[in-house]
Point group: C2
Chain length 343, copies 2
C-alpha cells in the first residue's frame, strides 16, 4: 500500500500545475471550465483527497472545535465521573446542538474531559497546540479555573453559562430567574400553597438563580419562606432531598426541582409515600430533557433550549474566529413553561 495521491500527482495526471488543481478544488478563482473538467477527472482517477494536516498548516484552521466538559472530579474516580457526566441527558443535548451547528460547516467536535487539575492542564496544552480552532466549554462547577486558563492561553473560547467571575470569553446562558418564576407562578395558579424546592448546587450560578427566582416569585405572592433541600442535579440526590423534605414537611403540596432528573426522582419518592402526582403534590422540573417525557407522569417543566444554546455557542465561536479583536459576545435565552401531567 503506497502513499495516497497528492496534489502533485493529480497535477501531473491532469497536465497542469499544483496551483491550478488547488484552485479547482477550492473554487478559489476562475479556472477555465475545460481545465476544470480535466482536473476533476484526474481527481477521480487518482482517488485524490486533500491532506487536511497540510491544509491546516497553511490555513491555520483545523475544522475541529474542542467540546470541553469540565467538572468537579474532586479526587474522585475519573471513570465514575465520566459515567455520571454522560448519563445526564443534558450533555447529550449539548452534543446534539453542537453537531447540528458544526456539520453544515464541515466541522467536528473533539470531546475533551477536564475533571482534574491534571486533565485541565492537558486540555489547555493540546488546545494551545492548535489541535482545534477553539473551545466550547461546559462547566459543571462554579469556581472552574478552566475558562481563565483557556483565554489566558489565547484559545478562542465560548462558555455555556456565565462564569462565576468575569472572563474575557463569550457565553450563552438562560434567564434562570425567569424560568423559576414561571414554575412558581404555575404552581401558585394551580392552588399550591405549601411549595418546597429541590435546588441545584449553590456554587453554580444556575443553581443559585433558579432558587432565588423561585423564592422571590413566591415571596411576591406572600409566601416568604420556601423550604429547600440542595441536590446536585443527579437522580440520587433528588431522591434524598425529596425524602428529607417530605419528612420535615409532610403536608407539602408542590415541588420545584432545579432539573428534570431530580424532579423525576422526587415524583417517585412521593408516589412511594402514597402521594399522587399531581393530585396531592404538583411537581415541576427544569430543562425539558428526555427525563421529563420518560417520567410517569410526564413532567411539567421549564424548558431550557439547550440544543439552540449549544448551536449559538458554535456561532459565537466561529464569529470570534473571524474577528479575533472583537469583544466577546453573549446571548441569553428565554425559558418556556411546558405543561404536561405532573403539575
Amino acid at each position: 500500500m503506497s502513499r495516497p495521491p497528492t496534489l502533485e500527482d493529480v497535477a501531473r495526471v491532469a497536465g497542469v500545475s499544483r496551483a491550478t488543481v488547488s484552485r479547482v478544488i477550492n473554487g478559489t478563482r476562475n479556472v477555465d471550465p475545460s481545465i476544470q473538467e480535466t482536473v476533476r477527472a484526474a481527481v477521480r482517477t487518482t482517488g485524490y483527497a486533500p491532506n487536511s494536516a497540510a491544509r491546516s498548516l497553511v490555513t491555520r484552521r483545523t475544522g475541529a472545535v474542542g467540546l470541553v466538559i469540565s467538572g468537579a472530579g474532586e479526587g474522585d474516580d475519573e471513570s465514575a465521573y465520566r459515567r455520571h457526566v454522560f448519563s445526564d441527558p443534558f450533555f447529550g443535548r449539548v452534543v446534539d446542538g453542537v453537531i447540528g451547528a458544526l456539520r453544515p460547516r464541515g466541522m467536528h467536535p473533539m470531546l475533551m474531559l477536564a475533571e482534574s487539575a491534571e486533565a485541565r492542564e492537558q486540555v489547555v496544552a493540546h488546545l494551545r497546540q492548535g489541535i482545534a480552532d477553539g473551545a466550547l466549554l461546559v462547566s459543571t462547577h462554579g469556581e472552574d479555573p478552566l475558562p481563565r486558563m483557556l483565554t489566558g492561553a489565547g484559545v478562542p473560547t465560548v462558555l455555556f453559562a456565565r462564569p462565576a467571575r468575569p472572563v474575557p470569553a463569550g457565553y450563552v446562558d438562560l434567564a434562570h430567574r425567569d424560568g423559576a418564576r414561571l414554575a412558581a407562578e404555575h404552581l401558585l395558579a394551580r392552588g399550591c400553597r405549601r411549595p418546597v424546592t429541590i435546588c441545584g448546587p449553590l456554587d453554580v450560578l444556575a443553581g443559585q438563580e433558579r432558587l432565588d427566582g423561585f423564592g422571590q416569585a413566591m415571596a411576591r405572592h406572600g409566601l416568604a419562606y420556601v423550604p429547600c433541600a440542595e441536590g446536585n442535579f443527579t437522580a440520587a440526590s433528588g431522591e434524598q432531598a425529596m425524602t428529607r423534605l417530605l419528612r420535615e414537611h409532610p403536608d407539602l403540596d408542590g415541588v420545584f426541582a432545579a432539573n428534570d432528573l431530580m424532579a423525576r426522582a422526587a415524583a417517585h419518592v412521593l408516589q412511594e409515600h402514597g402521594k399522587r402526582v399531581p393530585q396531592d403534590v404538583a411537581v415541576v422540573g427544569f430543562d425539558d430533557s428526555s427525563a421529563a417525557t420518560a417520567a410517569r407522569p410526564e413532567l411539567t417543566t421549564v424548558r431550557q433550549p439547550v440544543e439552540d444554546m449549544a448551536g449559538e455557542m458554535v456561532r459565537l465561536l466561529l464569529a470570534a474566529l473571524e474577528s479575533p479583536e472583537a469583544p466577546p459576545k453573549s446571548v441569553i435565552f428565554e425559558p418556556d413553561l411546558v405543561i404536561r401531567e405532573s403539575a
Copy 2:
C-alpha cells in the same frame, strides 16, 4: 496579537538549531543536559507550543480518532435522531471507555454522526482526508454500509459489534447468547414458568442473538415457546411491547428485556397494572447501564462491560495503526449476571 512562537524562535533564543530544540522537546535523542536546560528555558520564556498541524504533516498522525455513531436516520428528523442517540446511556459508556483509553496516549475522540446517506459520505470524506488517524464505529443498524465504505476508503477501522456481513475490520463484541442464557437460567431458578421476552430489533445481530440465546436456554429446560415482542431499545418501545405482552399473556411471571431501558419501562408498565416486581413478575434487563440502578426496583441485569469493550476498541485501532498489514483482530467479551432487586 502576533503569531505564536515557532521552533525557529525558540532555537534563536536558545542559540541552537531547530533540530536540537525538536529533539529536546520530543526526547528523541541524547542531547547535552546543559543544552537541554537552555532549550527548556527558551521554551518557557517564549511560551512555545508545538504546532500540531505541522507535526501531523510529517508524522502522519493527528492524535485524534473518529468516534462514529452510525444509525438508521431513515429520513427522519436528524436532530430527533441525535437526541435519541445521546439519551441512551449506552453511548455515554462508550464515550467513557474511549476517552479513558485515549487519554493516557494524549489522544482525543472526534465525534461524528452518520445518520443519513449524505452524512455517511461526509464522514468517509473527512476521514479520508486524514482528519483523524482512524475510526471507531458504533452501528445501531444491521445493514450499515459504513463499515465497508470506511475500509474501502483505506481508513483504519474498528467496529463495536460484529457486522452483519464480514468486513475487513477488527471488532469487539459480547457473547450475547451466553448473556441471554444467564438471564434465562436465573429466571428459571427463581421458579419462573411463564416467561416472555422483549427483544431488540432483529436486524441487529445483538438483538437476534439475545433472543436466540434466551429461547434456546428456555427450550433446554422444557419451555419450547417464549412469547416475544420486538422493541428498538428505547423506553417507549419497551412500554408498548410490555403492554402488548401483558394483554396477550396476563399470567406471565417473568420478563427478559434486551436492554435496561426497555426493562425499566416494562417494570413501570407492570407496576401500573398492579403487578409487583419481583414478587409477581421478575424482570431481567441487559447492559447494566445507569438505567438499571436508576430504576425502582433496581434491575437485575446482564452486564455488558461497555467501557472495557470501548477501551479495547481503542487498543485494537492503535495496534492496527502500528502494523497496517496485520490481519484485523477481534475480541469477544463475556457477560455477567448482576443480581439486584427486580429478579
